[in-house]
């Protein structure tokens, strides 16, 4: 059985207990127990369709958007129950930001993209906005590339730039956790390298949870790795341990490329 506790002796920020998830009748996640450490990068790996994205989307309740989803079990963010009806989803999503597989800049200027989260929260103070834009774009390592065209459309950017704008947009609202669902799968190697570098920087301020099907990437960027298979958590441990000496035979088969 997988280890339940955080493999590192850090404080846990997200604690998943006995999580089961169904798409209609089909079970996509079964009895997941996982503790995600604070200010570390946690990677979810596993073969396609094993439930990585589904698990990730539980963490900011994006699965609410799909009518047929049923969730049972508990996820706590700093001790607060995420799945409870009392949880304010809007507030949860501000605390747990998300970056998607396909970069999805809004058809607005770069500036407006970055401050979108602030605008909808009703913040319109020019000083605050300007400051947030610079901080977020620097945080996403794209400030130098776009500082002279903040008011041009974000749709004119390249894929890698657009993805970093999306990261800037996510960190502009100062979340505690950033979820990334295969953020590099649509990018070329150079853009991918930039994002990976950026993830190293991000963990100084945020907790990062990243889904990837690229094991080298998981090995490069993450501190802890969770291996999922057919909706079950097979193994969760320090990345170093998983990639050098996994406890579970299935994990070993997967990372050595014998299946998946």
């Amino acid at each position: 059985m997988a280890s339940n506790e955080s493999p590192l002796l850090d404080s846990t920020i997200l604690n998943i207990r006995d999580l089961n998830l169904f798409y209609g009748q089909a079970q996509a996640l079964s009895s997941i127990n996982l503790a995600i450490p604070r200010k570390k990068v946690t990677a979810f790996i596993g073969p396609s369709g094993c439930g990585k994205s589904t698990l990730l989307r539980c963490l900011n309740r994006m699965n609410d958007l799909i009518d047929i989803v049923r969730v049972a079990g508990s996820i706590t963010l700093d001790g607060e129950e995420i799945n409870s009806p009392a949880m304010d989803v809007i507030n949860l999503r501000r605390r747990v930001g998300m970056v998607f597989q396909q970069s999805n800049p809004f058809p607005k200027s770069i500036y407006e993209n970055v401050i979108f989260g602030l605008r909808i929260a009703g913040i319109n103070n020019k000083g605050t906005l300007d400051e947030t834009v610079e901080r977020s774009l620097r945080g996403a390592a794209i400030w130098d590339e776009v500082k002279d065209r903040l008011h041009e459309s974000a749709l004119g950017l390249s894929g890698g730039q657009a993805q970093r704008i999306c990261i800037a947009r996510a960190i502009a609202v100062n979340p505690e956790v950033i979820l990334m669902d295969e953020p590099c799968s649509a990018l070329d190697p150079i853009a991918t390298a930039k994002i990976e570098e950026l993830i190293h920087e991000l963990k100084k301020l945020f907790t990062v949870v990243i889904v990837t099907h690229n094991m080298q990437q998981a090995a490069r960027v993450s501190d802890c790795t969770a291996f999922l298979y057919m909706g079950e958590l097979i193994e969760f441990n320090e990345t170093r341990k998983i990639f050098t000496n996994p406890d579970n035979a299935q994990t070993e088969d997967y990372i050595t490329g014998r299946f998946g």
Binding site: L65, R93, M98, I120, V173
Partner: protein, 529 residues
């Protein structure tokens, strides 16, 4: 041969041919309308023809028939003398054809054009001396009379203002006596006094007007048609005098522009076959705008609910099918519905509630521009719903997810991202619906369009927008002038001109909408990788 089919060339050719035929048909239609419509105001030469039997006729040659025997159609005018405007003459009958420069055309307020020659001009009952050029004297006299009738029209304005006041007083009186006859006796009596005063002033003005009119009508011109039959015409009845055979190109251009101005800005005359089309243009544009005002918000909101909020399921699918199929309902059915529901249902109810004192004269309980726009809004709202739904559906899922993941509510996502992004598509729907509404006639005939509306639905008098008024419409005008007027042949060019105008309005409206849409599209879809 097999190769030829496999390469797919024939299929490409077939698609190109289909497009080509469509374009060709449309182009032919537009060109026919353009040629006939634009040429109508250009002053054609007036021919004087001597026939074998000795009769002489004068008129514009309006058609040539190549049959056996070949014939010419003359627009001879002088309806009051001949009883009809047109005359067919066998080519072989004509012994000589000339274009005398002193041939004159008088456009009259009644009986259509007069073609002939000026004889004498008499002002104030005095025959002017035989010397001098009668043509010049006619022009001078006409000039003078036109100036005087301008001052007379200021009297018209006064009379109509007073009539309006009298009408309001009368309405106030009926309302008061309707509410409480006993209690309001004193006020009613006072109002009665004011009403009598106003009516007396109207009578006075009318008398003055009559006097001036008779005075004006004393200036006359005696003209003779081609065969010499004389006719005395009051100069006040002449709208325009011209001699097409001696006009320079410049003069003809000025004449053309003047006719164009009249068309766009003046009232119609002679049961709509002459004069301007201003009320019809105004009515069409205002009705279409009102229609858009109703159908656009309504359709967009309905589509947003269907696409963004409603649970996808059997019911929503049925609604969607129903909406799509509404387009197949004959438009006259909408007219019948509008008449039954809006006019007799809601309109009569409004009259009983708000205007009981005017009953049995209906205010909203009869066709009007409000009900017409609502009926057409009903007719075009499916177009807007479908267009909006399609463009909402075309927005990538990532946009919604991105917005929601930043803590936006569904409504914020909708107003800040989805609707702006859907705007170009919504505008396409709006363009289509406006074009459809501008050309629709059948339902309007039941719910408020008329041949001749006494006043515009928008004027300077409180409450400015008169939603209950009937209005004129270019499409109905085509039907009425082309097929219902007593003088169909004379009205034919007017049909082309009206069609041209309607086309121009639709094209102007859609071009501006398309321009706006291009700007929007640029804003939302410059994406490069």
């Amino acid at each position: 041969m097999k190769h030829f089919w496999l390469r797919g060339e024939p299929q490409v050719i077939a698609t190109a041919a289909a497009l080509g035929i469509t374009l060709l048909l449309t182009l032919t239609l537009v060109i026919v309308v353009l040629v006939n419509g634009m040429g109508f105001f250009w002053p054609a030469g007036v021919a004087r023809a001597v026939l074998k039997d000795g009769t002489v006729i004068a008129g514009e040659i309006t058609a040539r028939e190549m049959g056996q025997p070949p014939r010419l159609q003359f627009k001879v005018g002088n309806r009051d003398l001949y009883g009809q405007d047109f005359r067919w003459v066998d080519r072989a009958e004509i012994t000589s054809l000339s274009y005398p420069s002193d041939l004159i055309v008088l456009e009259r307020k009644e009986h259509g054009n007069f073609y002939g020659f000026t004889k004498t001009v008499s002002v104030d009952g005095e025959q002017a001396a035989a010397g001098g050029d009668p043509a010049q004297r006619l022009d001078a006299a006409w000039e003078q009379v036109a100036g005087k009738s301008k001052t007379a029209s200021s009297l018209d304005k006064q009379v109509s203002d007073l009539t309006y006041q009298a009408e309001r007083i009368r309405q106030q009186m009926t309302r008061l006596s309707h509410d409480d006859r006993q209690g309001n006796t004193a006020t009613i009596a006072a109002l009665k006094g004011r009403l009598d005063g106003t009516l007396a002033r109207i009578d006075g003005l009318a008398e003055q007007q009559n006097g001036e009119a008779t005075e004006l009508r004393r200036a006359t011109v005696t003209v003779a048609d081609a065969s010499g039959t004389g006719k005395e015409i009051p100069i006040a009845d002449i709208v325009r005098i011209y001699r097409p055979n001696s006009m320079t190109v410049w003069a003809k251009t000025m004449y053309y522009l003047e006719r164009l101005r009249e068309l766009l800005f003046d009232e119609p005359r002679e049961s709509n076959t002459e004069g301007g089309l201003f009320p019809a243009i105004f009515g069409t544009v205002m009705m279409v705008l009102l229609m858009t005002l109703f159908s656009l918000p309504f359709g967009v909101i309905a589509a947003v609910y269907l696409r963004e909020y409603a649970q996808e399921g059997f019911l929503v699918r049925m609604v969607r099918i129903a909406v799509n199929n509404l387009a197949g309902v004959p438009s006259i059915v909408y007219g019948v519905f509008g008449l039954g529901f809006f006019v007799y249902g809601i309109g009569s109810g409004m009259d009983r509630l708000f205007y009981p004192e005017r009953l049995p004269t209906p205010t909203f309980g009869t066709g009007g521009i409000l009900w017409s726009s609502l009926t057409l809004a009903l007719l075009t709202v499916p177009v807007i719903i479908v267009a909006t739904e399609e463009s909402l559906a075309a927005i990538p899922k990532g946009i919604r997810e991105g917005s929601l993941s930043l803590g936006a509510t569904k409504f914020q996502t909708l107003t800040r991202l989805l609707l702006p992004m859907a705007t170009p598509g919504i505008m396409t729907g709006m363009i289509l619906s406006m074009a459809r509404a501008a050309g629709e006639v059948a339902p309007l005939m039941l719910v408020g369009v008329v041949k001749l509306a006494p006043s515009l639905p928008l004027d300077m008098r409180f409450p400015y927008f008169h939603m209950d008024r009937k209005f004129m419409h270019l499409g109905f005008h085509i039907y009425d002038v082309g097929f219902q007027s007593p003088n169909v042949e004379a009205a034919k060019p007017m049909v082309y001109v009206t069609t041209l105008l309607l086309l121009a309005i639709v094209i102007a409206a859609s071009s501006s909408a398309i321009y706006l849409r291009t700007i929007m599209k640029k804003r939302y879809t410059t994406r490069t990788f």
